[in-house]
């Protein structure tokens, strides 16, 4: 059975993405009550992404290196670790900072005078960036899991 921490990491990451997708949708039509909801979504998104960082980080440092990495490296799809895990663990580090930046913009949304043009567009682009990066993380996670399965099948 897979370590529960990897499931928790993925679950929290998905919740973080869903929260920023929610913030994106609210900002499409930025009325006052919708911006209030976007703020709630963004703070939830930041919290979930930081929690995902802690859960994934703990799993990576305490379990992955000694149990999963050697399995993939001895299997037929070593690229699962060498390319995708190496990339994922480092690109992931961008996400919490972009999430904090997005939250800071949404939090101060009401203070801007040009709300419906460039500020709105900025929030939408930042939310989209988080969703793109998060989707990349999920896809890389899928490829890494595939490499583990291939290694287990090869080992019989």
């Amino acid at each position: 059975m897979a370590d529960p921490l990897i499931g928790l990491h993925a679950f929290l990451g998905e919740l973080g993405l869903a929260a920023f997708l929610w913030a994106f949708i609210e900002t499409l039509n930025p009325e006052r009550h919708r911006i209030k909801r976007a703020k709630i979504a963004a703070i939830l998104g930041v919290t979930f992404l930081f929690a995902s960082w802690i859960a994934g980080g703990y799993y990576y440092v305490s379990y992955y290196g000694s149990n999963v990495k050697p399995l993939i490296k001895n299997g037929p799809e070593t690229w699962g670790h060498d390319i995708f895990m190496e990339s994922k663990e480092h690109i992931f580090l961008f996400l919490p900072f972009v999430a904090l930046l997005t939250f800071s913009l949404i939090k101060n949304y009401e203070k801007f005078t040009d709300k419906n043009k460039k500020i709105r567009k900025s929030v939408l682009w930042l939310c989209a960036l988080i969703i793109i990066l998060g989707a990349m993380m999920a896809f890389m996670g899928y490829l890494i899991s595939g490499s583990v399965r291939a290694a287990l099948e090869a080992a019989g």
Partner: protein
């Protein structure tokens, strides 16, 4: 964080430093060992350095003058540079794999 321009610049510099730490630690075993010695794992050290750097940079830049027009400009910088930095990391490991 009230100053968006300062937060955006802090994000960009932090991401650039993450890219540097990632690539340089793969090219220099000594540097990777130094990162390992800091916290017990090179990746944990990179994360902690990034976190401290981000807030230190924001603290340093927080009084920076900012206009509403800057927001869209800096958002575009953050968006495209994050994509470019991600591709640099991915392509670096693809290159290392096939080397």
């Amino acid at each position: 964080m009230k100053n968006y321009k300062a937060a955006a610049i802090s994000t960009i510099i932090t991401e650039a430093v993450i890219v540097f730490l990632t690539l340089f630690s793969e090219m220099s075993e000594g540097f990777k060992n130094l990162l390992k010695a800091m916290t017990g794992h090179h990746w944990t050290s990179k994360g902690i350095i990034a976190l401290i750097l981000f807030f230190a940079l924001y603290f340093a830049f927080r009084k920076m003058k900012t206009k509403e027009n800057d927001i869209w400009k800096y958002t575009k910088h953050v968006f495209w540079l994050t994509i470019v930095f991600s591709l640099i990391i991915l392509l670096f490991f693809v290159f290392e794999f096939f080397k």
